[in-house]
């Protein structure tokens, strides 16, 4: 019996403003199974960083477009995901 390799994708995850003070990093590359949805990734991130608060106010972007954090859309290799807390430009 041969060991089967689980296919994986790599996505970049970016943390901004007060979030990167919780995660203690501004970005990281995560290795995920090929059928990981946006909703799955958000759940993985929140498990890894339980101190991220007020997730309802944090928007998620994939490749610079805001997406629904409960979306079942499947992530692709090289996707860039960002956690965007409430903004204060100007």
């Amino acid at each position: 019996m041969t060991t089967q390799m689980m296919p994986i994708i790599r996505v970049t995850v970016l943390y901004f403003a007060y979030i990167h003070e919780t995660t203690r990093k501004k970005e990281e590359i995560m290795e995920l199974s090929t059928n990981t949805s946006i909703k799955d990734l958000v759940s993985i991130i929140l498990t890894r960083y339980p101190n991220i608060k007020n997730i309802k106010n944090i928007k998620i972007s994939v490749n610079y477009h805001i997406v629904n954090s409960n979306s079942n859309s499947i992530l692709k290799n090289d996707d860039e995901v960002a956690l965007l807390p409430p903004i204060s430009g100007g």
């Binding site: 970016l14 901004f16 403003a17 007060y18 106010n57 944090i58 928007k59 972007s61 490749n63 610079y64 805001i66 860039e80 960002a82 965007l84 807390p85 409430p86 903004i87 204060s88 430009g89 100007g90």
Partner: protein
Amino acid sequence: MKSNNALGPSSSSQRITNSEIDVNDVINSMADIEGHSGATVIFVGSVRNFGMNGKVKGMYYESYTKMAENKIKNIEKLAMEKYSIKKIKVVHRIGELALGNNSVIIALSTPHSKDAFKACKYILARIKQEVPIWKKEILSKGDEKWVDGKSIKTN
């Protein structure tokens, strides 16, 4: 990061910069010797000595630069369609700023003054609603606090 840069004529220049904003340069770029416009309105935002958390001695700005550039380009495009804008230039600075340093400039010209004021206010409002930029107040008493902002508006 991926490139996503095809958004109109002025897409080559930077909307997000780490350097000081050259206000004179922006204003001089509004000059129009053919007289297509009759009104230019410029908004300049700068670091004030009093913020959300009290007395401030500086401000730190951070952006999701690629997305912020795209968002600003799109806001410019929408404003140009909505008002009869002839020239436009929008720049937001990031990094560490001292009191009085300029954080943002919005400059535009239109045939009539009413449109110029409306367009400038429209762009400023949308920047505050949609562009991924965050600021942290560097307080006089020593600590630093991220400004409690607004959830990004999506439409």
